[in-house]
């Protein structure tokens, strides 16, 4: 993608910025549409109608909310720690946005083909943790502080099962490059990792149950990492007003919101890259049949987004199904259930991949 923009403009800085702009627009649109979908899904699941006033099916509701948010006065409490208070939302958003740099949206739409892509995505989330702690502490509010502590404890705990599952996948695929991982699962949907990867060896069929276990573990732990219900104790409305962003308003609050939905989308895409073939179509491409090159990219982009949106939908589905976990239950789930299963899964996948 960089090469494309470089050929177009011939300027390093402009083309770099253009490459960065693509995921930024994606994140903004995902947030706008995500907020709407969240409200609609919650309404449907509770036999309500949901937003339906602005535009067809209320689709422009979130645009109106966004405009409202932009217009809001930036009220800052006099007791906050000025510098850190202002840096925190930027850091949180930067962390969640940075993860998009390595995600391959299609075989031609890739921000950066770094070899350590998977690791980079996990590392970028640690900036989010630092930003959350910063915001919680600088707000000078006990609810913010409690929320940020809970959030940080939760994220660093759940990074372990995530990392273990990612490790088992890396062991199997032999690369950390997200593009290569996607490319390896090309072809039809039975080449996806959840179905044991490409080829028809015995190991493919042996792998399937362990892949499903790995998928469930990484889905649960990434759900916890993005602080979604049932793991939303950092922003538990009934206990801590809104958790670490209690004191924020206007566009600074908007940054936290963007980061949350950006994170949701990023982990959905990560799961679909690892287990569901990334941008690969499950059946083949119309563009290849017709011989149109750009249509293939468009199809890949659409498939990838469809997969991402499906997992976001499942996240929402879970959110409106399950009640919030208690802190000790949360830690029990992570340390006593997910991590042992992930370790056993890692060992078994290692043995199978040697076959």
């Amino acid at each position: 993608m960089y090469q494309f923009f470089f050929d177009l403009t011939g300027n390093v800085i402009i083309s770099t910025l253009a490459v960065a702009l693509v995921p930024l627009i994606c994140v903004l649109l995902v947030t706008l549409f995500g907020v709407w979908l969240e409200r609609k899904v919650s309404a449907w699941m509770q036999d309500r109608v949901g937003p339906n006033r602005i535009g067809p099916y209320g689709i422009f509701q979130c645009v109106a909310d966004f405009v409202k948010m932009l217009q809001k006065e930036d009220a800052v409490s006099s007791e906050v720690d000025g510098v850190l208070y202002n840096i925190a939302p930027v850091l949180v958003f930067a962390g969640s946005f940075a993860a998009f740099a390595v995600i391959p949206f299609a075989s031609t739409i890739i921000g950066s083909q770094v070899e350590v892509g998977l690791f980079y995505m996990l590392a970028a989330s640690s900036f989010v943790v630092a930003g959350i702690l910063m915001g919680g502490w600088s707000s000078n509010n006990k609810y913010s502080l409690l929320g940020s502590m809970r959030s940080a404890a939760q994220i660093i705990s759940y990074e372990i099962p995530t990392a273990l599952v990612v490790l088992s996948m890396v062991m199997l695929m032999g690369t950390l490059n997200l593009t290569q991982i996607s490319e390896m699962q090309t072809g039809n949907f039975w080449h996806w990792n959840i179905f044991g990867g490409p080829g028809w060896a015995l190991s493919k069929f042996l792998l399937i149950p362990f892949m499903v276990v790995g998928f469930i573990i990484i889905f649960i732990s990434t759900l916890a990492e993005v602080n979604r219900t049932p793991f939303d104790i950092p922003e538990a409305e009934s206990e801590l007003v809104a958790g670490y962003f209690t004191e924020y308003c206007g566009m600074k609050y908007g940054m936290f919101m963007l980061a949350e939905y950006g994170n949701m989308f990023a982990v959905s895409l990560l799961v679909s890259v690892l287990f569901f073939g990334g941008y690969q179509s499950p059946v083949g491409y119309l563009g290849n049949v017709l011989g149109i090159k750009w249509l293939v990219s468009l199809e890949q982009f659409s498939w990838f987004f469809a997969k991402g949106w499906f997992f976001i939908f499942v996240q929402m589905w879970l959110r409106w199904t399950l009640p919030r976990l208690r802190v000790d239950q949360l830690m029990t789930l992570c340390w006593k259930y997910l991590i042992p299963y992930a370790v056993i899964n890692l060992v078994i996948i290692g043995i199978i991949s040697l076959l």
Binding site: V41, W44, M45, R48, I216, T321, L322, L333, Y337
Partner: protein
């Protein structure tokens, strides 16, 4: 007490299975509700049918009002204010729908609906059943003054005119009385105390 290994393992696996299974059951329930039509109604467009005897905005059919002031006296929050002027002979005020003859001009019939507590106590005393509660419940206003409903059929000028008429009539009556008294006094000025003696 230490649980032995096999029992612990069994419980552990059962917990795992329960965790997954119960979540799936919950998800199935919410998924079904995803396709259940909404039970909420779109309020401004769709309205629930109200019961027959709802108590909402007061209405006064001023044509039937005889100005008896009973509703105002019944009101526990004093939100009704009525001023009346007596009619003068020769003025036909008409009759109410249940055949009562009207004798008073209702120059003011104000209901401050913002004060109203919707108790309906004003409705029962009304001899002509001209004050009653309607089923209108959407009457919010931006100005509180707009919630002061004036039901009187007469405008200010007319009301003033009626008052002037009545006062004039009264004055004429007084004058007549005085004249009559004077006329009566004239024939026998020397026996003023006579009637009392009779």
């Amino acid at each position: 007490m230490q649980k032995d290994g096999i029992e612990f393992m069994r419980e552990y696996l059962k917990n795992t299975w329960d965790g997954i299974y119960t979540v799936l059951v919950g998800m199935r329930i919410t998924f079904k509700h995803l396709f259940t039509p909404a039970v909420t109604i779109q309020y401004p467009e769709v309205k629930v049918k109200l019961p027959d005897r709802v108590r909402n905005r007061l209405y006064v059919n001023i044509d039937d009002c005889i100005g008896c002031d009973q509703c105002a006296r019944a009101c526990p929050v004093s939100c009704i204010e009525i001023d009346t002027v007596k009619s003068i002979p020769g003025e036909d005020l008409g009759i109410t729908s249940n055949g009562k003859k009207k004798a008073l001009w209702v120059t003011r019939f104000d209901i401050d609906i913002a004060k109203c507590c919707y108790c309906q106590l004003c409705v029962f005393p009304c001899p002509t059943e001209c004050i009653y509660m309607t089923d209108v419940y959407e009457f919010s206003e931006y100005e509180r003054a707009n919630l002061l409903y004036k039901f009187s059929a007469l405008n200010q000028d007319e009301a003033a005119q009626k008052k002037v008429n009545y006062e004039k009539f009264q004055a004429e009556k007084e004058a007549q009385k005085a004249a009559a008294a004077a006329a009566a006094a004239k024939p026998k000025p020397e026996t003023p105390a006579q009637p009392s003696a009779n």
